[in-house]
């Protein structure tokens, strides 16, 4: 319950609120949960109709390990309290209680409701992330405990290493997974990608390409593996070979925007501007927020002498490049706005 933030609840209290309720709420906000609970127990006993006292009593009970007694009241307050701020507090506390009692399934609907009512709320998002993490941990624990020899354990280990930037270790895990399940789909692809993330030297490019080709041998319709081979050929200065691979990738998956962009770039280099423009116009329709597609389209319009359209794409790009607004960004901006001393 420590995660519950301090809220400006005083402003929400009715002006005629009992002093003792106010004192207890104040204690709660100062983190003196046990004191608050003791005071609120008395207030609620004396005045059972004090909604604020009831809500904060439930919150105090939850904060002092009394989820069993608090959960019911928190649920009622979350469902019915007229005050949105108190409803929000009750909902968050209820989620915490469910997590504390390992009742993940009960926590999901509460979080869903919180997200609908308070979209973009940092505390709600934090609870959501926490719940996902808990669920993920549970699943991983089960997998490692019950199927330690499964190729999935190696695959997942590889994916975790990848996230941590430990690409060599990730590649080693993918290799183990392939050894256990040579026909497993997506394993060669993941290995190829880890190798590329590790290095772009000649040997690694060759190794990675072999893995993508192996993936294609298992699944000839894998447009993404085709695309990766195309990228490697491009890095190896084989533009013609790359173009063929990108074309195949697009034919396998006509809505694969990255492949459309890659193919269009090669067409642009070859001064085949109308073809490139066609591909890129498709790509921006598929992915209107793709900076890469809009940038490539802007340049090919420019190269084709269609400056008005190039300017239009530039305007779109300028919009896309604006930093996202949000609490996190604002926080960082505030950090940056400290005035340096002369």
């Amino acid at each position: 319950m420590r995660a519950i933030s301090v809220f400006a609840v005083f402003a929400l209290l009715p002006l005629a609120a009992e002093d003792r309720t106010a004192e207890a709420v104040d204690a709660f906000h100062r983190g003196r949960y046990a004191d608050a609970r003791e005071m609120l127990e008395k207030v609620v006993q004396a005045a059972p109709g004090d909604g604020v006292a009831q809500t904060f009593l439930a919150l105090s009970r939850a904060a002092t390990g009394g989820c069993d007694t608090a959960a019911g009241e928190l649920g009622r307050q979350f469902a019915a309290n007229q005050d949105a701020s108190l409803r929000r507090l009750a909902g968050i506390a209820l989620v915490e209680c469910h997590l504390a009692r390992n009742r993940l399934a009960d926590a999901w609907p509460v979080l869903d409701a919180l997200q609908k009512e308070f979209p973009g709320d940092a505390d709600v998002l934090y609870e959501t992330a926490k719940l996902h993490m808990r669920a993920w941990n549970e699943a991983v624990f089960q997998m490692y405990q019950k199927t330690p020899a499964s190729f999935r354990v190696n695959q997942l280990s590889g994916e975790i290493f990848e996230i941590q930037g430990r690409y060599a270790e990730a590649a080693a895990e993918y290799r183990k997974a392939i050894e256990k399940n040579p026909a497993g789909l997506n394993l060669h692809y993941r290995l190829g990608r880890a190798l590329l993330l590790e290095s772009h030297d000649t040997a690694k490019l060759r190794e990675a390409r072999n893995e993508f080709e192996a993936e294609l041998a298992l699944n000839p319709s894998d447009a993404v593996a085709e695309y990766q081979v195309g990228q490697i050929l491009l890095a190896e200065q084989n533009a013609a070979g790359a173009m063929a691979r990108f074309e195949r990738s697009v034919s396998l998956s006509p809505d694969f925007a990255e492949a459309l962009v890659a193919l269009a770039r090669l067409k642009t280099e070859a001064k085949q501007y109308p073809e490139a423009i066609g591909l890129l116009e498709r790509a921006v329709k598929l992915q209107p927020a793709s900076e890469s597609a809009h940038y490539s389209l802007m340049l090919v319009y420019r190269n084709a002498g269609r400056m008005e359209e190039a300017q239009r794409e530039k305007t779109v790009l300028d919009q896309l490049k604006r930093p996202p607004e949000g609490e996190f960004t604002e926080f960082l901006k505030r950090l940056g706005e400290k005035t340096p001393k002369p």
Partner: protein
């Protein structure tokens, strides 16, 4: 005769240069002092990561390039006189340069007062310094008198002199990185921008406030006026600017300014000729990489690497990013040619100083860049990204492509340093360009080729008369052996560094230069014919009307 002719032809074949062997001769040259620049195992603040530059200037006009190395806090920026025979002597105190300490960043040089001696400008986090060269004997700090004292602490980085209004006086551009105050800047790990691959590191540039770039107009009387606002230079104020590169990128006879920016779009200020610049990097194709993403731009170099008469641009970037080669497709519009040119594979280095130079005098501009990570802490990760790293050398194959020959180009290339500035110049006038590199907390490197120049060359030393005396912005086309190469005289460039103001051209088998054509900033065009190769040739701008 058939055999001789074949050999001559071979020397001109693109990329047919012989073996290259660079050695670090700094110690034997007397460049043994280490230049401090923040922590070696950990860095608390970003200011420890960006320094410092190097410069080649012939301050006493003896025909030999002298070496300047800029220092971070705890040391002095030092000038070494070229004594000849490959030896340098520290003359810092003797010439009056032992006056400023602090976080030195970059250096650029030009004869701003047209008195015949090259002056020096050194940038700082803190206060910049303009040193006027008094007769080649000493330097005088004229910062305040010249109107260049700044009213607050600024994080000045790259600089370049240029005569943007062609009035015959060298103006000054100074890039500014960001607003930095150690009292208010978060410490390593304190916010999400203070982490790298799971380890806490110094914060920034993201999360730290932007600053803006500065253009000073040279009033012609020894003073400068800040014209940043009026000229349009101040308008872009959301960029972390580092290196500065000047050049006439659209061939309209006016010097433009390109600025490498860290984690933000790089800037191309197009000179409109009326004292104003417009920033056009995005539409001209030099703001981002080919994916439309802003890179962490560090160093810059320009050359007509493909011989089409248009200046191309190279930019070094951060690790996990490609270097960027922008090919000028004409009119100052660029295509990202990084992949097509074969430069896309070295993604494990943080690149800094860089330069095009014809290492084997085959008439094609090769490319060197020096590297080193910003986070010493990266060494704890045990990955193939290192705080100290080797340089990368690309041979220009003459067909629009480059070959990475770093691992076969001698021991000098294999040394690992936290390198920053790199200045290119022929300090012994032997026709081969040497590279002076400022390494953080270590002595500098001086890369010199072990073997002599196999092919022919010419070094052109231009002096303006009606134009600014350093000839900044003069465009030179050299025709020899049936090929024409072009270049411009420029101040600044690389990473916060100053290379030789003279222009070096490799001539392959040609023993004479058929034609040298110069477009002076004053508008004068000068043509010289039938010049001998293998020497330094001084050319003065004609004083009268041509």
């Amino acid at each position: 005769m058939r055999l001789l002719a074949s050999l001559a032809l071979l020397a001109w074949l693109p990329g047919a240069g012989g073996p290259v062997e660079f050695r670090n001769v700094a110690a034997s040259a007397g460049l043994t002092r280490a230049f401090p620049n923040g922590g070696d195992r950990t860095k608390q603040f970003i200011v420890e990561t960006t320094g410092s530059g190097a410069a080649w200037i012939d301050y006493d006009n003896d025909g030999l390039l002298d070496a300047l190395l800029v220092s971070g806090a705890g040391g002095l920026t030092r000038l070494y006189h070229n004594e000849g025979k490959g030896r340098f002597r520290d003359v810092t105190e003797e010439v009056g340069l032992a006056v400023a300490s602090g976080w030195g960043q970059g250096a650029c040089a030009a004869d701003y007062d047209n008195d015949g001696f090259t002056d020096l400008f050194v940038t700082y986090w803190g206060q910049n310094h303009l040193y006027r060269n008094i007769g080649g004997r000493r330097f005088e700090d004229v910062t305040a008198r010249a109107g260049l004292r700044q009213s607050r602490v600024r994080y000045n980085t790259g600089c370049a002199f240029l005569d943007y209004d062609r009035d015959g006086h060298a103006d000054l551009f100074v890039a500014n990185y960001l607003k930095f105050d150690p009292q208010t800047t978060p410490k390593p790990g304190e916010n999400p921008y203070c982490w790298y691959r799971g380890i806490p590191v110094n914060c920034g540039p993201r999360g730290l406030p932007f600053d803006r770039n500065i253009l000073y107009h040279n009033n012609g009387d020894g003073t400068f006026t800040d014209v940043s606002e009026a000229s349009g230079i101040a308008a872009p104020d959301q960029n972390y600017a580092l290196s500065v590169l000047t050049g006439d990128f659209n061939n309209d006879g006016l010097e433009d300014i390109y600025v490498a920016c860290d984690q933000t779009p790089s800037l191309l200020y197009i000179n409109r000729g009326n004292g104003k610049f417009t920033e056009e990097a995005l539409l001209r194709g030099v703001a981002f990489d080919e994916n439309g993403k802003a890179m962490s731009g560090m160093g810059l170099a320009a050359a007509d690497y493909d011989g089409d008469g248009w200046l191309d641009i190279f930019r070094s970037n951060f690790s996990d990013e490609r270097e960027t080669l922008y090919r000028n497709r004409g009119r100052g519009e660029f295509d990202d040619a990084t992949v097509a040119a074969g430069l896309a594979r070295n993604t494990r280095y943080v690149g800094w100083g860089c330069g095009f130079f014809d290492m084997d005098n085959d008439g094609w501009q090769d490319l060197l860049l020096v590297n080193g990570h910003v986070f010493p802490e990266v060494d704890r990760l045990g990955i193939d990204i290192h705080f100290r790293d080797r340089a990368i050398l690309y041979r220009n194959l003459g067909n629009g492509k480059f070959a990475d020959i770093s691992e076969s180009a001698g021991p000098g290339l294999e040394e690992r340093h936290a390198a920053r500035g790199a200045a290119f110049g022929d300090y012994d006038n032997d026709g081969q360009v040497e590279v002076l590199i400022n390494n953080q907390n270590e002595p500098p490197s001086l890369l010199k080729q072990a073997a002599g120049a196999g092919s022919h060359w010419i070094l052109l030393r231009l002096t303006g008369t009606r134009s600014n005396r350093s000839a900044l912005g003069a465009k030179v086309r050299v025709t020899a052996g049936g090929r024409t190469q072009s270049d411009e005289v420029r101040s600044g460039g690389s990473y916060l560094s100053q290379s030789d103001l003279r222009l070096h051209f490799g001539l392959g088998a040609a023993r004479r230069v058929e034609r040298v054509e110069i477009d002076w900033p004053s508008g004068a065009r000068q043509v010289l014919r039938d010049l001998p190769a293998d020497r330094v040739t001084a050319i003065e701008e004609p004083r009268g009307t041509l």
